[in-house]
């Protein structure tokens, strides 16, 4: 291997790592606020990528029907949880959020699909289709279990993941899709060429991180999420509802997942079940960050991406093995450092 190849691999690794970093951040976010280990994060990526690829090809993505279905289910779940204390405002907000919003998104998609709305239009539409599914899933599958143990929540997350993957097969079929790149620009620095798409990925990741930083540092809702993460009871006592925090955290995870999908769609062929492996790499990074530290998780994600790209070059048959083996020493060190590792509070 010479320096040129190493640089190419490094560039590739950083680009993939940037996507993993996005996923790692949202895993840490969702876990710290709701204690849910968000296995279905990968499905949001796959749905995002496949929805974007469909729009890009001028087709109506099947995921809009999933959005409508989840909206109706979330609406029913919401009405059930409000049966003792329904106020008019709350019911109206619920109906607007779970029925009106998907209806509008479905309508707009049917209207715009097949027309040239540009990369930005397709990307925004994809986020609008995929992201709301996450808070709906929270209302359906996780809110009723909010006080359950981490293990119970994890099992619910695995169930959600399997269900979404199965539905993904129905919606998108078994074939893989690849979208066209956002830009054909190619940047040359010396002997290195940098694809426009790579710049897009890294820039989007950096922007998202900055946005998250501003959200948590400077908005009341961001601080409310932080408060829920550090002291659940304290948050309830000041009137921050656990359900609201959970919905916001899942909503952010949905947005981030869909964005991750849009970013990888032009880089690789995505199948209905590709999300899991992508999500798992984000998970490795989140674990390295101890599920609590955002900067550590983001850094670890870039490392995972680089390890992956170099192992693809040297031993491509073993690349997943090598990537997931990286987690072992980390777990070992962690378990040595805190010998009494109870899983709960």
């Amino acid at each position: 291997m010479d320096a040129d190849i190493a640089l190419i691999l490094l560039q590739d690794g950083v680009v993939n790592g940037a996507v993993y970093a996005l996923l790692a951040l949202s895993l840490v976010l969702v876990f710290s606020v709701t204690r849910v280990i968000l296995i279905p994060q990968g499905e949001f990526v796959a749905y995002g990528a496949l929805t974007y690829a469909a729009l890009d090809a001028g087709k109506v993505p099947g995921s809009i029907w999933m959005l409508g279905l989840l909206g109706v289910a979330a609406c029913l779940a919401g009405l059930w949880s409000m049966r003792h204390h329904a106020s008019r405002g709350a019911v109206l907000r619920l109906l607007a959020g779970t029925l009106l919003l998907p209806a509008v998104v479905i309508g707009v998609t049917l209207l715009l699909a097949g027309r040239a709305i540009g990369v930005a239009g397709e990307a925004v539409l994809t986020v609008l289709i995929v992201a709301p599914m996450a808070p709906y899933l929270y209302d359906i599958a996780f809110k009723p279990l909010a006080e359950a143990s981490v293990l119970t929540l994890l099992i619910a997350a695995v169930g959600t993941h399997l269900a979404l993957m199965g539905v993904g097969l129905v919606l998108f079929g078994p074939e893989g899709f690849r979208a066209t790149a956002f830009s054909d620009a190619v940047l040359s620095i010396g002997s290195q060429t940098i694809q426009g798409q790579s710049i897009w990925v890294v820039a989007s990741t950096a922007t998202t991180m900055l946005a998250l930083y501003l959200f948590f540092g400077f908005t009341l809702f961001g601080k409310a999420l932080h408060a829920t993460a550090v002291n659940r009871l304290g948050a309830r006592l000041v009137g921050i509802s656990t359900a609201l925090s959970g919905r916001i955290a899942f909503g952010l995870a949905g947005v981030i997942g869909a964005m991750g999908g849009i970013l990888v769609a032009p880089l690789t062929t995505v199948y209905y079940d590709s999300g899991f492996l992508i999500g798992l790499k984000g998970f490795v990074a989140a674990i390295v960050g101890g599920m609590v530290s955002y900067p550590l998780a983001a850094l670890a994600a870039v490392l995972v991406g680089v390890v992956e790209s170099f192992s693809t070059f040297w031993a491509s048959a073993f690349k997943e093995v090598i990537v997931f083996t990286v987690i072992l020493p980390v777990l070992l060190v962690r378990s040595l450092r805190s010998p009494v590792a109870e899983d709960e509070e």
Binding site: L220, V230, N231, G234, A235, R236, L237, V238, G239, S241
Partner: protein, 244 residues
Amino acid sequence: MILAATGLHVGYGGAAVLHDVSIQVGRGQIITVIGPNGAGKTTLLNAIMGVHEGRGSLQLAGKDIGRLPVEARVRAGMSLVPEKRELFGSLPVEDNLRLGGFRFRHEPALARRRQLDEVYALFPRLRERRKQLAGTLSGGERQMLAMGRALMSRPDLLMLDEPSLGLAPLIVREIFTIIADLRARSVAILLVEQNARAALQIANYGYVLETGRVTLQGASAELAADPRVVETYLGIAKAVPAPV
């Protein structure tokens, strides 16, 4: 009447903690609940706040709140300062206070700022420490922050669980002066205390809770003079015959 709790029953996994407890708090009153450790005082406050489930009727300002979740009870106008304070340790003091006013998040910034200034006026120490992380405060400051955070939601009923716990006598006096002050601002207060002497001094009315039942109640002056209270809670033993 701001709070009327009637026939409260609370149990933990089959074991009953509160039996048929009824208490009332009037507007602008300080009501205290005293009693030994394990009598169910904290459970009583938690049940009223909705942190624990219980049976019985709960009315806040005439409205039934028995089935509302905690967050909705905060919006209905009640606030609890729990025994463990439950602060947001990794956030600065001022953020803790701002989050205390979360129910008014849709109000104009000016109104929220005014509320913050009011709390700072009540606890000048918090203003000095406003940039400091809540987790680094001293015990007295933590209690002040917990009270300030609760007041940010402008409650009609403020419930305090052992506000003097673990604090130096001088700070306890300061905290109790502020509690008495709050009554003048027409905040009704339900005070649970081990320090029965201090509690009965500022309260209008008191309940004695023993093994989950109200065994005695009355105006605090009467309670303070009641021989049973004097003997058990105020620590002045009656003349004991000299040992032989």
